[in-house]
């Protein structure tokens, strides 16, 4: 699933290893394993908490959430917009 290895072996340098020594990012609300990152809220969230938080109102629904790699929990290029609309945004 991780295609990072193909990209010139930059995975070790470009992958953002989380600063914690434990190496595991937890959802900020329920402390389970995080699978999304919301840049607008600057928060790591699990799927359920993300659904709860971002379906509260339409302003929150506009936030773009970034999926985290399930292995290394770093940011991917798959994003989530709205209720369940997944897009791939190219890097610029």
């Amino acid at each position: 699933m991780c295609k990072g290895l193909e990209q010139g072996g930059n995975r070790s340098s470009s992958c953002l290893k989380q600063g914690f020594s434990s190496g595991l990012v937890n959802c900020e609300l329920c402390n389970s394993r995080a699978s999304l990152y919301c840049q607008a809220d600057d928060a790591y969230l699990c799927r359920k908490c993300d659904k709860w938080v971002h379906q509260a109102n339409f302003l929150a629904l506009r936030h773009i959430r970034c999926f985290l790699c399930s292995t290394c929990q770093s940011l991917t290029q798959r994003y989530l917009i709205g209720a369940s609309h997944e897009v791939m945004l190219p890097t610029m």
Binding site: K3, S14, L29, A40, D41, V53, I64, C66
Partner: protein, 516 residues
Amino acid sequence: MGYICDFCGDQPSLVYCRSDAACLCLSCDRNVHSANALSKRHSRILLCERCNSQPAFVRCAEEKVSLCQNCDWMGHDASTSNSTHKRQTINSYSGCPSSGELSSIWSFFSQSDSAGESACEQELGLMSISENIESTSWDPTVNTISHNSAGVAEVNGDCNVDKGSGWTRTSIPEHRPAPQLLDQPAGSTDTSLPKFCPQTKYPGLSEDDLYDDFNIDEVDLNLENYEELFGVTLNHSEELLENGGIDSLFGTKDMSAADSTCQGAVAAEGSSIGLVYAIQPACSNAASADSVMSNKTDPILYFTTKHAHSSLSFSGLTGESSAGDYQDCGASSMLLMGEPPWCPPCTESSIPSATRSDAVMRYKEKKKTRNIIIYKLCVFVAILVIEGACLIAVLASKERFEKRVRYASRKARADVRKRVKGRFVKAGPQVLSGDVGYRTALNKFPRLRLWKDSCIRTSFAEICLCHHPSHCFQPHQFFNPSVFILGVSAYIKAAAITATTAPWNVSVMGKKACSC
């Protein structure tokens, strides 16, 4: 971004939430950001009062306005005397502060909440004024409206769009024939409409005007419809008088059929609020016409005593679905008490049964065809009404002119893209000075365009050399000062641009991403 809060679309926006990228009024800001712990962390800042689209950056003490960077630069240009104005940086806040706390953060922040509320009340007051204007303006068009203006105004005063109570309130005390019903839907549409356009006075008025024209036509149509039905029933009154008891039976059957169709039609269109009011008169007219006709099977004696009953039955029809019951009660009571008052027609019932059955059959046929015509007309009118209302709603609505996002992915991309001074910039490697200077030189010196295709990246030395293509090799024109200055300025500009957009090689989210 705009003058109106993005959330309620009602009040003017005051603060800007960076995380949500939305302009909000104070109350919506409090509502939205108190929803959960993550929203509380959003940082909000005052909006620029000049352009209302960017977050404010400084507060000018002399002019007493909060300005964004652009407006600040424009307003306090170095060449004017304004450049010496004292400006104070504005801080953002997060959490859920009250107005008092906001006032302490920003000393210039006034209690604008009360201003917003009073504006709302003013708008409501304006609404009621506009309603009165409309109710009186109907007088020349429909004469009987004026009788109901008091009732309409009363309903308006309560701002109560309770259709049933509104209708029954005015129908029961007044023993009037059906034209009063026609006024009623017009009146109640009048009450319902201003509720739908609470935004500002003028759009509300324009929408109401459109609805007014629309309803006038509807009322006229109903009047014609009703008179046609009335006329038909009058023609049949003699026949009906002959065929006393059976007609009441027919009456019940047809009434129940009419009621069911009317109720079905009403239920089908009940989803569109404003239309229910318009459609019900059509149905109620059909049903009431039938009921009138069936009531007219009774002779004049019954007419006087049961006129109140018929008006009550009208109100029952229009108000609730118990209309069927009402009519059945009326019909059955007619059946029960039918014999004694029917002495005059009883004498005529000695006609032989054969001709009577023939007459009955003929009458039945005519009634069926007439009913079919009525139903078709109702359906046609209903369809017209729906189309007209939809058209008007679309035309008069402001949705056409509001910002609409067509593609969520495009909006997402646009939100995320790097901007410099509000313009998109490419985050790729910036082409350096030569191209920039070259392009500006091209615009200034049209002859250089001839060189555009061939010279892709030339240094400005070459430009200096070749700016006169016709005199390309004239050595005494080796150096042209104007082009040289142009090139130098272009160099400086390009350098500045690259400096500001230095982090171009960082990924979308501001963090380096692995391509998983």
